[in-house]
C-alpha cells in the first residue's frame, strides 16, 4: 500500500463549467493526441478499425438528460477525468507505489515503470477515472499535463493542460485551487463550484460549475399600440396613426 503525502501547498486542478460545455469532445481528443505522443506508453487503440474498438482515453465526455418537474427536459454534458483528490483512494490502494500523489502540487500520477497492471486503483477510484491500456497493460490516467505545465520548451502561454488550451467554448480552467485569490478559486466562489460525490470523502481538487437555471424567460407581453392610438377599435388604422406620429418625432 502507498501513503499519501501531507497536504500540498499548491493544489493544481481543473474547473469545468457545465453551463458552457457543449459536449464537443475537443478536450477528449486533444488529450488523446498529447498523451499518445508524450508521458509513457502511447494511449493505444485495440481493434481500431474493427467491430468493437477499445482505446484508452484519459478524459471522456458523458451526456445526461435531466427532466425537471416543470419545464422542458435538459441535456448536461459532463467531461470527466481524474480529479486529483486530496484523499486519493487510488494511491493508497496501490501495492507497488506506482500510483502516487506529488507532494508539491498534488497531481496524481502513475509511474509506469512500477505499475504491474493489477487494476486495483481503477477499482478504488469512485469516479472511474483510470483506464488500463489494452496493449501496454499499464494504468493510464490524467496527468494534468504535468509535461506541459512546467515545460520550458513550450511558450509560457501554452503551459497549461492540452484540454484547457483547446476547449473552444472556454469551459475548462486550470489553476491553483489552494490559493483563494487564483482565478479558478474566484470562479468557484462566484459560480457555486462543487465537488463531485463529496460523500466519498475523496476531497477532489477539480471542481465543477453547475449549469445556470434553464428556461426561465418570462418577460411580460408587450403592450398593444392600440392603447396608444387614435383609433383603438381598428388595429391597422391605429398602427398607421402611431406610425405617422412616430415618424414626425424622428
Amino acid at each position: 500500500m502507498t501513503t499519501l503525502p501531507p497536504p500540498s501547498e499548491r493544489k493544481l486542478g481543473l474547473v469545468i463549467d457545465l453551463d458552457t460545455c457543449v459536449g464537443c469532445h475537443a478536450c477528449v481528443v486533444s488529450c488523446k493526441g498529447w498523451n499518445t505522443e508524450n508521458y509513457g506508453a502511447p494511449l493505444s487503440d485495440r481493434n481500431a478499425y474493427g467491430a468493437a474498438p477499445e482505446g484508452t482515453f484519459l478524459n471522456r465526455v458523458h451526456t445526461f438528460e435531466v427532466t425537471p418537474e416543470t419545464g422542458p427536459p435538459q441535456i448536461v454534458h459532463f467531461p470527466k477525468s481524474c480529479l486529483h483528490c486530496d484523499n486519493a483512494p487510488c494511491v493508497t490502494v496501490c501495492p507497488t507505489g506506482a500510483s502516487y500523489k506529488r507532494a508539491d502540487d498534488g497531481i496524481v500520477l502513475v509511474n509506469e515503470a512500477d505499475c504491474i497492471g493489477c487494476g486495483l486503483c481503477a477499482w478504488a477510484c469512485p469516479y472511474g477515472a483510470r483506464e488500463m491500456d489494452p496493449l501496454e497493460q499499464v494504468m493510464k490516467k490524467c496527468t494534468l499535463c504535468v509535461d506541459r505545465i512546467y515545460n520550458d520548451a513550450l511558450p509560457p502561454e501554452d503551459r497549461e493542460p492540452a484540454c484547457v488550451r483547446t476547449c473552444p467554448a472556454g469551459a475548462r480552467h486550470f489553476g491553483d485551487l489552494a490559493d483563494p485569490e487564483s482565478a479558478v478559486s474566484q470562479l468557484v466562489a462566484e459560480r457555486g463550484g462543487f465537488d463531485l460525490m463529496p460523500e466519498q470523502d475523496t476531497a477532489p481538487v477539480n471542481k465543477y460549475l453547475p449549469p445556470r437555471p434553464r428556461d426561465q424567460l418570462a418577460s411580460p407581453a408587450l403592450p398593444d399600440l392600440a392603447a396608444l392610438c387614435a383609433t383603438p377599435e381598428d388595429a391597422p388604422a391605429g398602427f398607421v396613426g402611431w406610425l405617422d406620429r412616430a415618424l414626425e418625432r424622428l
Binding site: 487503440d45 481500431a48 476547449c167 424567460l217 407581453a221
Partner: protein
C-alpha cells in the same frame, strides 16, 4: 514518503512546427503541426489565427489519424469489376490522365455540355468553376444546393450577405442571441468560441431547434419547435413587435426599401416599384407629400402614407408589410399549435427581443459618414444577434423562412450595428453586384460567363426558347429560378433519366454521391449502375477524385487519388469562402507540411494538368505548353482581374493588400506569417458597412469591388415580384402551366410562410412523425469514421425517439425500429431522448457506412448498427399522377428539402439494418488491427 520518480517535464512537441490550415471540416482553422523527423507528431490550434485563436475541436485534434488513415487511396484506379463492386486495378498516372483526356477531348470538341463536373466539400470553387468555364460546359456547381443555399441566397437577396463565412454575430457585444436550426457540427469552433463569450458574461442564449443537443443544450431557453414551422414562428414575433411599435423606424427609413412606393396599377407594373425617368425608385416626401427619387437630397421619406396617381393610391413597402404581419393570422394564438410553442412563450420571446433591442441599446463613441455624406457622431446598435443554418434552410419553405428571419433582424435595426449581426468581407455585396448565371456553350469554346449568379428576373433564367432548362441540374429554370448554388442533388437523377438531355461523363470531386451526400441513396446507387437496352451504363462514364476509399469510389470508372490535407497546397480565397472577420479581411493557405508516401497527387494540380492536356484557354501558353506548374503556381500567378488573384496578401513587392501584381514569394510569405494574412478594417468602417463611405472606399482600395456600391436592404424583394408577374401572364418569358400557381404562391416579394410540400401533401395519419438528421460535433462529411479516435466517440447512429413516441409504441432499450416514408424504409436501433420535439425522431448523419468502405471491418457498427435517413428522402416528391416530376426542393432556390421528411415508425421484428447496401470490395489493404501511435525523437 512515496518515492517521486524523475519525470521528463519538458518534452518538445516536435523538432519543427508547420503552420497550415485544418481541413477536418469546412471551418478552416489555423493549426500548428508539430513534426518530428518529418513525421506528424501533434496537432494543436494556432493562437494567432483569426478563425480559432488557438482552440481546436475534436476533429482538428484527430487530424493525425486522418492523415494516417488506412482508407487513403494509394494510386490511380481503373475499374475492372461491375460498377459498385469496388473492384479496381491500380494504374499509373500517365495511363489515368490519358484515359481522362481521351474521354474529355471529344466532348469539348463536339458537345461540352456532356461533361457534368460537380464538386463537394472542396474549398476551391472559384478554381474549379474557372476550369469548367474554360472547358465550356454549363454543368458545374458545388454542394451548396443540398447544403444551405436558402440561407445564402435569402441573405444576399435581402441584405447583401449571409451567415457563417459571410457574417457573424457581434459576439463581443450582443446581449441576446437567438440560434435557429443550427446542427451540432456547423461552424464548429467560431460558434463555440462565441457561445463561450456570451456565457462568460451571462448573456442570454435562446435555442430554437427540435433537438436540444449540442449548442442547444447550453441555451438558457430552448424552443423545441416543430420542424418546418420556423417561418411562422418568426413572423409571429414580427407581429408582436409591430403590434407594440418595437421597431427601429429611423433604421428602416435610412437603410432599407421600406419607404419605396409600390405600384398599385393593374397590369404588368403592379407590385413593382414606382420609378422616375432615370429608373430610380420613388418615395413619398413627408415634407411636400410628393413622390421623389429615394436619394433626393434633404428628403424625408414616409413609411406611413402613399401617393395618389391616376386615382390609385400607391403605398410604401412598409404599409404592405405592416398590413400583412399585423393580421390575426400571425398572432401567437394562431400559430402556437402548428409551431408547437405556447402563445405566452412566443410573447415572452418577442418582449425580450424588444426589451434588449430598445432598452439596452449600445452606443459606440465612433463617428462615421454615410453614403449620403451625412456625418454621425456615434454608432448605435441593438444588441440582439441571430444565427441560423440548415434547420431553417433545408425545407421547401426555407428561402422564405430565411427571408423572414432577416426581416426580423432588420426591423429591430440589428444588422451591421453594434451588438447585432455583422458582415465579413467580401460582404456586404448586394445581388446586383453579383454576376448573372451563364450557360451558353459552344463546341471548342469557353462558356460565355460564370456558371452561377443571382437572377434579377425571368430574363436571367437559363432556359432555351422552348423554356427547357439548359443545365443538367435544371438550375435557374422555372423549377428553381434563384438556384444560386446549382442543384448537385439533381444531377445523377436527371442524367439517369436523360432529362433535360443525356450526358457522357460525370466528373465528381470530394462528393460522396453514392452514399451520404445524395438524397434517395438506394435509388441513386441503382441509377449509377443502371444500363440501357444495349447493356451500356445510362451514365456512360464516371471520373471521381477522392483521397479515401469512400462509397462513391466503388461507383466510378476512373479514380484520381487526392492527397490528405497535410500534403497539399490550397488557398482559402477572397474569391471563394475566405476566413475574414467582421473587423478584418483575411485569407489563408494550406501547404505540404509532409510529402505523400503514396502515388497520389493533389486534385487541383491534376485538374490543371488535364486542362493543359486539353489545351484549355488560360491553362496553356501560346506554344501550347502548360501555363502552370501546379496549383501553387496557379495560386501565385493567376489573376482574375488585373492585380486581383486567389490570395490577397503580400502582393506585388510583398506589401500589396488586396491589389497588386503577382508576387513569386507570396506563398513563402504566407508560410512565414503562420499560413494566413489579415488586414484590419479601419475603426470608422467596421459597422454600417453597406452605407458607410469609409468602408466602401476601403473595400475598393482592397480590390473587393471596383467602385463604391452602397445599397438599401430589400425588405420587399422586387425580383420575386417579377417572377410572380410572369406567372400571372405578363412578359415574354412565360413559365410552364403546371408551375404557374406555385410560382405565384411562393415567390411573394414579402416573406411568407407556407407548409412544406411534404407537410401539405402527406396524410398526417399515415406519416405522423418528422424525421431529422444532423452530424455530431466530432465528425464531418463522411470522413470521421475512418478515424480511429473519432469513431470511438461516435461509432453508431441509433434513432433517437421522443418520449411520447417511445411510450406510444412501447419501445424498450435494445429495440429496433422500422421507419417508413412515402419513398422508402429503413430499420435501425432506437434510443430514447426526451429533450426532443414530441413529434420528431432523429439520427446522426454520415456515421453509417457501406460494408467494405473506408477500410473498416465490414462488421463495424458503422455498417451493422447504423443507416442513413437518406434512403427515405426522395430527390423527387412522390408522383402526383400528372405525369410530371416534382423536385423535393425549395421552389425558389432548388435547395434540397432534407428536413421536410415525414415518416411512420413501427417496432422492427428483426434487429438487422435495412436496407442492406451490399458489400463493396476495398481498393486499399486491410487496416492494422491495433494502434499505438507514437513518433519518438
Amino acid at each position: 514518503m512515496p518515492k517521486t520518480p524523475s519525470l521528463d517535464l519538458a518534452p518538445r512537441p516536435g523538432d519543427s512546427v508547420a503552420k497550415t490550415t485544418c481541413y477536418m471540416c469546412a471551418c478552416r482553422c489555423g493549426i500548428n503541426v508539430h513534426l518530428k523527423d518529418g513525421k506528424v507528431a501533434y496537432i494543436e490550434g494556432n493562437r494567432d489565427h483569426p478563425v480559432n485563436r488557438g482552440v481546436l475541436c475534436a476533429k482538428g485534434s484527430a487530424g493525425i489519424m486522418q492523415h494516417l488513415s488506412p482508407a487513403r487511396l494509394r494510386a490511380p484506379l481503373k475499374r475492372v469489376g461491375p460498377r459498385g463492386s469496388g473492384e479496381f486495378q491500380e494504374i499509373s498516372w500517365d495511363e489515368a490522365l490519358k484515359i481522362a483526356t481521351d474521354w474529355l477531348r471529344p466532348l469539348r470538341e463536339t458537345a461540352p455540355e456532356k461533361l457534368a463536373f460537380f464538386t463537394g466539400r472542396d474549398q476551391s470553387q472559384s478554381f474549379t468553376g474557372w476550369w469548367a468555364q474554360a472547358f465550356g460546359t454549363p454543368n458545374w456547381a458545388a454542394h451548396g444546393g443540398f447544403c444551405s443555399v436558402n440561407m445564402a441566397a435569402a441573405g444576399i437577396y435581402t441584405m447583401g450577405g449571409s451567415f457563417w463565412e459571410f457574417g457573424q454575430p457581434d459576439w463581443d457585444r450582443t446581449k441576446l442571441f437567438l440560434l435557429f436550426g443550427v446542427a451540432e457540427d456547423h461552424d464548429s469552433n467560431p460558434i463555440k468560441m462565441g457561445l463561450g463569450k456570451l456565457k462568460a458574461r451571462g448573456a442570454r442564449v435562446i435555442g430554437i431547434n427540435p433537438i436540444r443537443s449540442g449548442y442547444n443544450a447550453v441555451a438558457d431557453d430552448w424552443v423545441g419547435i416543430t420542424p418546418g414551422t420556423d417561418g411562422l414562428f418568426i413572423l409571429s414575433l414580427v407581429h408582436e413587435l409591430l403590434r407594440a411599435g418595437k421597431i427601429d423606424l429611423g433604421y428602416l427609413t435610412r437603410y432599407t426599401n421600406a419607404p419605396y412606393l409600390v405600384c398599385a396599377h393593374k397590369g404588368p407594373e403592379k407590385g413593382l416599384f414606382l420609378r422616375d425617368d432615370d429608373g430610380k425608385p420613388l418615395v413619398r416626401d413627408r415634407a411636400t407629400g410628393r413622390a421623389l427619387a429615394w436619394d433626393s437630397p434633404g428628403i424625408s421619406p414616409d413609411l406611413a402614407q402613399g401617393v395618389q396617381i391616376g386615382g390609385v393610391t400607391h403605398l410604401p413597402v412598409f404599409r404592405h408589410l405592416a398590413d400583412r404581419y399585423l393580421a390575426p393570422d400571425y398572432a401567437p394564438e394562431a400559430v402556437a399549435e402548428r409551431c408547437g410553442i405556447a402563445p405566452e412563450r412566443i410573447r415572452a420571446i418577442a418582449a425580450e427581443i424588444a426589451r434588449v433591442a430598445f432598452e439596452e441599446e449600445i452606443t459606440l463613441d465612433q463617428p462615421w459618414v454615410d453614403f449620403r455624406g451625412q456625418r454621425h457622431a456615434t454608432m448605435t446598435g441593438r444588441p440582439v444577434a441571430m444565427h441560423a443554418m440548415r434547420g431553417i434552410s433545408a425545407h421547401s419553405n426555407g428561402f422564405q423562412t430565411c427571408r423572414a428571419l432577416h426581416l426580423l433582424q432588420i426591423l429591430i435595426g440589428s444588422i451591421e450595428t453594434p451588438g447585432g449581426f455583422r458582415f465579413k468581407p467580401p460582404y456586404p455585396k448586394p445581388p446586383e453586384a453579383h454576376p448573372r448565371p451563364h450557360a451558353r456553350h459552344t463546341a471548342g469554346e469557353p462558356l460565355d460567363g460564370p456558371h452561377l449568379g443571382y437572377p434579377l428576373g425571368p430574363e436571367h433564367l437559363l432556359i432555351d426558347e422552348d423554356g427547357q432548362p439548359k443545365r443538367i441540374d435544371k438550375a435557374f429554370s422555372w423549377e428553381a429560378p434563384l438556384s444560386a448554388h446549382g442543384m448537385m442533388h439533381m444531377v445523377i437523377s436527371n442524367a439517369h433519366r436523360g432529362d433535360p438531355y443525356q450526358i457522357d461523363t460525370l466528373f465528381l470531386y470530394m462528393a460522396n454521391m453514392a452514399w451520404n451526400s445524395s438524397m434517395n441513396t438506394s435509388a441513386v446507387m441503382g441509377m449509377l449502375t443502371d444500363t440501357d437496352a444495349e447493356g451500356s451504363y445510362r451514365i456512360p462514364r464516371i471520373i471521381y477524385s477522392d483521397a479515401y476509399s469512400s462509397e462513391m469510389v466503388a461507383y466510378a470508372d476512373l479514380i484520381l487519388p487526392d492527397t490528405t490535407y497535410l500534403e497539399r497546397h490550397d488557398c482559402i480565397s477572397l474569391l471563394d469562402r475566405p476566413i475574414c472577420e467582421a473587423e478584418a479581411m483575411a485569407d489563408s493557405i494550406r501547404w505540404p507540411v509532409v510529402a505523400p508516401d503514396r502515388d497520389v497527387r493533389p486534385f487541383q494540380s491534376v485538374l490543371l494538368d488535364l486542362g493543359a492536356r486539353l489545351g484549355l484557354p488560360g491553362m496553356v501558353t501560346e506554344d501550347g505548353s502548360p501555363k502552370f506548374r501546379d496549383y501553387a503556381d496557379y495560386i501565385t500567378n493567376h489573376e482574375r482581374r488585373p492585380g486581383i488573384g486567389p490570395l490577397a496578401g503580400f502582393r506585388g513587392d510583398g506589401t500589396g493588400k488586396g491589389r497588386g501584381a503577382p508576387n513569386p514569394d507570396q506563398i513563402a510569405a504566407y508560410i512565414e506569417n503562420g499560413g494566413f494574412w489579415i488586414d484590419p478594417i479601419p475603426e470608422n468602417a467596421q459597422f454600417f458597412k453597406p452605407w458607410n463611405a469609409a468602408y466602401q472606399e476601403w473595400a475598393v482600395a482592397r480590390g473587393l469591388f471596383d467602385g463604391p456600391q452602397p445599397y438599401l436592404f430589400n425588405l420587399y424583394l422586387e425580383p420575386l415580384r417579377k417572377f410572380q408577374l410572369a406567372a400571372e401572364g405578363h412578359g415574354h418569358r412565360q413559365p410552364p402551366e403546371h408551375l404557374r400557381d406555385r410560382l405565384r404562391a411562393t415567390m411573394d416579394p414579402l416573406p411568407i410562410w407556407y407548409p412544406t410540400f411534404t407537410d401539405a401533401e402527406t396524410d398526417p395519419a399515415e406519416f405522423p412523425i418528422h424525421a431529422l438528421t444532423q452530424r455530431p460535433m466530432a465528425h464531418y462529411h463522411s470522413w470521421g469514421s475512418q478515424n480511429a479516435w473519432l469513431r470511438q466517440i461516435h461509432g453508431e447512429a441509433p434513432l433517437y425517439v421522443s418520449a411520447a413516441i417511445w411510450a406510444r409504441h412501447g419501445f424498450a432499450p435494445g429495440d429496433w425500429a422500422t421507419l417508413t416514408s412515402a419513398q422508402g424504409r429503413i430499420t435501425l436501433p432506437v434510443a430514447r431522448m426526451d429533450a426532443l420535439n414530441a413529434h420528431t425522431v432523429w439520427t446522426w448523419n454520415a456515421i453509417a457506412k457501406r460494408p467494405g468502405a473506408w477500410a473498416l471491418d465490414p462488421r463495424a457498427p458503422e455498417s451493422q448498427r447504423s443507416t442513413l435517413l437518406n434512403h427515405l428522402i426522395g430527390e423527387l416528391l412522390p408522383p402526383k399522377g400528372d405525369g410530371l416530376t416534382w423536385a423535393n426542393s425549395d421552389p425558389i432556390t432548388g435547395q434540397a428539402a432534407w428536413y421536410d421528411l415525414r415518416v411512420r415508425i413501427e417496432k422492427a421484428a428483426r434487429p438487422q439494418i435495412q436496407p442492406d447496401a451490399g458489400r463493396q470490395a476495398s481498393p486499399v489493404p486491410p487496416a492494422p488491427r491495433d494502434l499505438a501511435q507514437q513518433v519518438k525523437e
